[in-house]
Amino acid sequence: MTALAAGVAPAVGLRRATRAYRAMSRAAFRSLVAYQTSFLFGLLATTLAAVAMLYLWRSVLAAGTVRGFDWPAMRAYLLVAFVAGSLVSSYVDYRMAGRIQQGDVAMDLVRPVDYQKSRFAEALGFGVYELGTGLVVAAAAAALFGGVPAPARGGVVPFAVSAVLVMPLRFGIVYVSALVVFWTRNYVGVQSARIALVTLFSGGLVPLAFFPGWLQGLAAALPFAGMASTPALLYVGGLSGAAAWRAVAVQAAWTAGLWWLGRAMWRGASRQLTVHGG
């Protein structure tokens, strides 16, 4: 008979959990191979958008520095934001929302693993692929546009911390928005709303410094800044000293907050869960 977890020592439980989630990450990575064509098309679209943006900003900044950004700094900012933005793209939420809508989530619930950690493990598996391709595209674009300056001196440590936080933070936002499907039964609207908010407030399109003052204050406090703006600004030295660590702290607080929000929403959702389609 299967040993039930109640009688399993914590160390054994941890080892078993690690093994399960690592296997899920690997499986997610491998299943991307099946979607490689659609992934490459998506990559092409975002690459074209990034290149168009680089051309646009080059002409804007041809006359000189605007709001603290000269052309090389803007280049670096946009490319860091691009790599950050390529993480946790639509696989995690598409799958999740689809499985919730179709009722296949029932199958996820009869597996001996935590739902949220499983989705995070999968996001990590996809993330390896996303990060790899994102870096390649960014490096090619950097070569095309005349290189990217090295990270700002003194900002390397907060940048590194911020870069590590990007992935779990993005996961939190994507996960929470996909869980909304339990209540709305439909994901299209929720996803559009999220993408609009992220595009505007993450600073991936236009640096937040270009917003009016009151909106900058709001954007800095929202979770979206940590998805692109914070690491990109830290890289180019747009944030330094106490301001740098304050931005990283906001990012970390949202990462943790969204993780726990996701857990609370899951508890609520599973209590009122109706599984569709028999």
């Binding site: 299967t2 039930l4 977890a5 491998r30 299943s31 199958m107 009869v110 869960l273 599984v275």
Partner: protein, 341 residues
């Protein structure tokens, strides 16, 4: 020892009560009204180790909802449930270690991966050792004949192939309890037979099985106990034989006669309560009778006094008749005959 204990289990769903058409949908946005429906309405059930239970009822009777309550997918509105001594919805992960589940209309395989990779993923999720995994997999591959499917991705499998792989996936960790929700739906006869043989072997190995199905062949071949549910309530719980005795007692004797004519009314007069009908243009007679009122010998002797009987056979009621009558609402007409737990 009871593997599954459910006590007065209820699950109430709230459905939005929309009027017809666009006007109804718009009104629903302003004034929300809901209808409450008890999909499972006070079910009590005990299943012991090694039992094979068929859980039967018409569409919408609450079969799948019960399975989802027992597997911890759904949280009951009220009532108690314990599986392997665990409350499934409170300890979902621990519960999942001790049960295997197949929902016939869904797959637990990873759509984009080879079947073998799905199995290895499940091995890692359940923390199976290499030797244990090897042994279980070999046994399942042999019994279900899925050896040449292991390297295909799940999306390429036919329904029957997928179902066999799904059964293997559910049994890979050798769970003491297996729930199968319509496992033979949409399969052809040969595959069905193979699955039923497999399920008999699983039950013989001491596994507790709960099977919901519309296919009566599944029940007669695999299960010894029949639970009938209708409108969220158990209307019968007992041995398969006993159901037939209770709800389908009537037997039919078909007799071939040497010559006509035969006096049907003469036969009927000797067997009060039985129904006598002509068959084969008068060369045969069918007598439907209750074995508690008349023995088969008495029926035969009544026939022989009216005509020369050449050959005869007695038709026993099948579980089909019981369930067909139940679906037609005839069991409800005789509430006094209900047997509860």
């Amino acid at each position: 020892m009871a593997r599954i204990e459910a006590d007065d289990l209820r699950k109430v769903f709230r459905r939005p009560d929309k009027g017809p058409g666009l006007a109804g949908s718009l009104r629903h946005l302003v004034e929300r009204r809901y209808t409450e429906k008890a999909a499972v309405d006070g079910i009590s059930l005990r299943v012991d180790a090694g039992e094979a239970v068929a859980y039967v009822g018409p569409n919408g009777a609450g079969k799948s909802t019960t399975i989802k309550l027992l597997t911890g997918i759904l949280v009951p509105t009220s009532g108690e449930v314990r599986v392997n001594g665990i409350v499934p919805h409170r300890h979902r992960i621990e519960n999942a270690r001790g049960v295997g589940v197949v929902f016939g209309q869904r797959t637990s395989l990873w759509w984009d991966l080879p079947v073998r990779d799905s199995f290895e993923l499940l091995r890692d999720m359940h923390g199976l050792g290499a030797a244990e995994y090897r042994e279980n997999l070999d046994r399942l591959v042999e019994m279900l004949q899925i050896g040449d499917l292991l390297d295909s991705t799940a999306r390429r499998l036919s329904l029957g192939q997928r179902m066999r792989c799904d059964l293997a996936a559910a049994l890979l960790h050798a769970p003491p309890i297996v729930y199968l929700d319509e496992p033979t739906i949409g399969l052809d006869i040969e595959v069905k037979d193979r699955l039923r043989t497999f399920l008999r072997q699983v039950v013989a190995g001491g596994t507790t099985l709960v099977l919901t199905t519309h296919d009566l062949g599944d029940i007669e071949d695999v299960c010894s106990r029949l639970v009938i549910i209708d409108q969220g309530r158990i209307v019968h719980d007992g041995g398969l034989r006993q159901v037939i005795e209770t709800y389908a007692r009537e037997r039919v004797m078909h007799a071939d006669l040497a010559s006509r004519p035969v006096s049907l009314s003469g036969v009927a007069a000797r067997l009060p309560g039985a129904t006598v009908t002509e068959e084969r243009d008068g060369l045969g007679v069918a007598v439907a009778f209750d074995p508690l009122a008349h023995t088969a010998a008495a029926v035969l002797s009544a026939l022989q006094q009216e005509a020369e009987v050449v050959d005869l056979r007695i038709e026993e009621p099948a579980i089909e008749d019981v369930v067909r009558r139940m679906y037609a609402g005839q069991l409800d007409a005789a509430p006094g005959e209900r047997t509860g737990t």
